[in-house]
């Protein structure tokens, strides 16, 4: 094995890449773009959500209840309805996602110390906000109920604890429940897997299309020297790209890094290697640049989003799809990434992910190498 040969192939590949600067720039800056988009445009928490209220009771009690809802930062009473069907009218037009209907017997029930029904209409067409609305309103109802029950019992001169069982929620790893940390760690995985592999998918195909692959076969260069030379420029570009993304991600968005930088670096290197190898493998499969591009998008970019555990957790999917997602290294890397950045946990918690990632690298590299060597391309 001579370094000179590898270096020669590397230089040639660099020149190929640089000949199309626009593609390179897009591929390198996409992750950064995505980072900032995700950081600033994804917010799951509600803020001043407009709510419609139909108060058929118009009593002091109902007004207290409405004020309790309005006083939170999550909801803002925007519409006071005069007819029941106005609620659906507003929701059909997307003017509000939630309507609270207070029946005429609301205050009577409360004065008679019975549970007072309230109907909550929620727009179910948008799932995440629907869940939030239901949860938050239930919490408001619960705390308001405690207030009412309190005065009920006080009037009777009974002192009793209104919360016999206290549920103390604790949020590990992310005390302030910042959406951001979850999303940005997902973007790290996306940055590696999403874009540069598409470029690497064209690496060998270019040679095949122009026919210069035959010259490679005729030359004394060994297959592993060729592969090493071809893959290295992409590994370098991807590493630099990722360094840029992670430095900005951690610094700009003030993410913690609780675990070991070493583990993160090792995992990152494996992931970079794996994704470039995937692109490379795609390259060995086809003769046409366009087909390689198609496979590149379908098998690297899209799976990075869907199966990389980035926005929607893969744990929710059915068993079969979860197995299929193991074909893509994104989820292993996201697991390790989150483990290090958020949890700072030791090796025992993510050794399966690490093992899977390593095995994946070896497997895909071997298959590609075998294909090149046996000239099956």
């Amino acid at each position: 094995m001579t370094i000179k040969r590898i270096w020669a192939v590397m230089k040639a590949e660099f020149i190929h890449i640089i000949r199309d600067p626009l593609s390179l720039i897009i591929a390198l800056f996409m992750p950064l773009f995505l980072l900032f988009l995700s950081g600033y445009c994804i917010r799951f928490e509600l803020k001043e959500m407009p709510v419609a209220v139909f108060d058929m009771d118009q009593s002091q009690e109902s007004r207290n209840y409405i004020k309790a809802i309005d006083n939170t930062s999550y909801f803002h009473i925007e519409y006071f309805l005069t007819r029941y069907d106005q609620a659906k009218y507003l929701m059909d037009r997307g003017k509000t996602r939630c309507a609270v209907i207070i029946p005429a017997d609301f205050s009577r029930k409360i004065k008679e110390y019975l549970p007072a029904n309230v109907q909550i209409l929620v727009d179910g067409s948008e799932i995440t906000s629907a869940h939030f609305i239901i949860n938050y309103l239930s919490a408001i109802n619960a705390s308001h109920s405690v207030k009412i029950a309190d005065s009920f019992l006080k009037k009777r001169g009974i002192a009793t604890n209104l919360e016999p069982i206290v549920l103390s929620p604790r949020f590990w790893y992310n005390q302030s429940l910042r959406d951001l940390t979850f999303i940005i760690t997902g973007v790290f995985s996306l940055s590696i897997m999403g874009f540069v592999p598409i470029l690497s998918a064209l690496a060998i195909v270019r040679e095949k299309e122009s026919g210069s692959i035959q010259q490679i076969f005729a030359s004394p260069i060994r297959s592993y020297e060729y592969i090493a030379g071809k893959m290295t420029p992409y590994v370098i570009f991807l590493t630099l790209d990722f360094l840029m993304v992670i430095v900005i991600g951690l610094w700009w968005f003030k993410l913690p890094l609780r675990g070991s930088t070493l583990i993160l670096s090792l995992a990152t290197f494996l992931m970079i290697f794996a994704t470039v190898a995937i692109g490379f493998f795609i390259s060995t499969l086809t003769r046409s640049q366009l087909t390689a591009l198609l496979f590149g998008i379908v098998f690297t970019l899209m799976p990075a989003f869907i199966f990389g555990d980035t926005i929607a957790p893969i744990a929710n999917s059915p068993e079969g799809w979860r197995l299929y997602s193991c074909l893509f290294p994104g989820r292993f890397y996201t697991g390790i990434c989150r483990a290090q950045i958020l949890k700072g946990s030791g090796i025992q918690s993510y050794w399966e992910d690490a093992l899977a990632l390593t095995a994946y690298c070896i497997a895909i590299f071997s298959i590609s190498a075998w294909r090149v060597k046996s000239k099956k391309i």
Partner: protein, 375 residues
């Protein structure tokens, strides 16, 4: 007129001869949607729960049963130590943990607040929040039951204590299945990516192969060429949308409005994407760049489209910017047509906005493309 038709036919033949582009478009309109329908779920159901019961009485077992019998919490394992719990949460095998301290029943019996610890993996704040919500509701019901029992035992006969009983009625999507929204969103997304790729590759293909020069030599006017390059992607996109309805049937997504209304809106939307695509195609020199740039363009449109996050959650400046892009309005229309059963009577503002934007983008794209060809 015959010239125009000839050019349009040529575009169709180009597309037909390019199996890669065809497969890609088909993928986005079918397979991608199906995969995402299964895997892109936001429901916090079946959360893996690790339970550490240090109390071990019938009361604690009852509480555990109340948690596990819902569809929200699935048993991961019964831990025997805090270190165990930490391990399960650290590794991500469990997302929540319920910890019942040993003195729980004693506190309860003696009227002291009996606390339970509910630990969430805060990494996914969305799911953590939902998990806590469910847990609080379960405990809330139990608390009310306990209070009534206590009062009864003190000789105060009540069957219930006053409370606000919120009855939730979900409109449009009773079971709150996230799959409906995911499928609708992905059809819209397919329209976006498909539209962008179709039109940008149509323009770039000629440049790459050098055939643009041959066309410019002919008596064809550039606007005829541009019309051809607009009509073809538009119609192909609409045909692909027909295929995407397969996924609608597959996932049993309700279409309460008129499907033809949806096709109309898809058409309006594709006008915008074609315009942007032509712009992209003029900037790029080869197919790789065109496709990469198309993919790049859809990100800001998706993130600022009120799709992943409702627009009300964004800062006001971003909300205003979001109003100026077509995806926002198409998504409102799409959701409206499928889930709410809206028609043009409700959605005409969106239709108008889409048409105006479409015209604008198309005009911009064509002007830039023409300027390039003139050189």
């Amino acid at each position: 007129m015959g010239r125009l038709w000839g050019l349009v036919k040529k575009e169709y033949i180009h597309f037909y001869r390019d199996p890669v582009a065809m497969l890609l478009i088909l993928y986005f309109f079918t397979a991608c949607i199906i995969i995402c329908g299964y895997c892109f779920l936001f429901d916090a159901k079946h959360l893996h729960t690790v339970i550490y019961d240090m109390n071990r009485t019938s009361t604690s077992r009852d509480i555990i049963q109340r948690f596990l019998s819902t569809e929200y919490f699935d048993l991961d394992c019964f831990a025997t130590s805090m270190a165990d719990v930490k391990k399960r949460l650290d590794s991500g095998k469990a997302r929540v943990a319920l910890i019942i301290p040993p003195e729980f029943t004693r506190n309860l019996a003696e009227g002291r607040p009996a606390s339970l610890q509910f630990i969430c993996d805060g990494g996914d704040a969305n799911q953590a929040g939902q998990g806590v919500g469910f847990a609080k509701r379960i405990i809330g019901d139990l608390n009310r039951k306990i209070i009534v029992e206590r009062l009864n035992s003190q000789g105060i006969v009540v069957s219930q204590i006053p409370a606000i009983d919120g009855r939730v009625r979900t409109l449009y999507n009773q079971e709150l299945k996230s799959v409906y929204y995911v499928v609708i969103f992905h059809i819209v997304l397919a329209g976006l990516i498909g539209g962008l790729i179709l039109s940008s590759t149509a323009v770039v293909r000629e440049k790459e192969r050098g055939t643009i020069d041959q066309i410019l030599v002919t008596p064809t006017r550039s606007w005829e060429l541009l019309i051809a390059k607009t009509v073809a992607p538009l119609t192909i996109g609409l045909i692909a949308t027909v295929f995407s309805f397969l996924t609608v049937f597959w996932f049993e997504v309700p279409c309460r409005g008129n499907p033809l209304t949806f096709f109309a809106f898809m058409g309006f939307f594709l006008i915008s994407t074609t315009g942007i695509g032509i712009l992209i195609g003029s900037i790029c020199q080869n197919m790789l760049q065109a496709i990469l740039l198309s993919v790049a363009t859809q990100f800001p449109m998706v993130f600022l489209g009120g799709v992943i996050t409702p627009l009300e959650n964004l800062p006001p400046l971003l909300q205003k910017i979001a109003q100026f892009q077509p995806l926002t309005h198409f998504m409102i229309a799409a959701n409206g047509i499928f889930q709410k059963g809206n028609g043009f009577s409700v959605l005409w503002p969106e239709a108008l906005k889409l048409l105006i934007m479409g015209g604008g983008f198309l005009l911009a794209g064509c002007i830039i493309a023409r300027r390039q060809w003139k050189q």
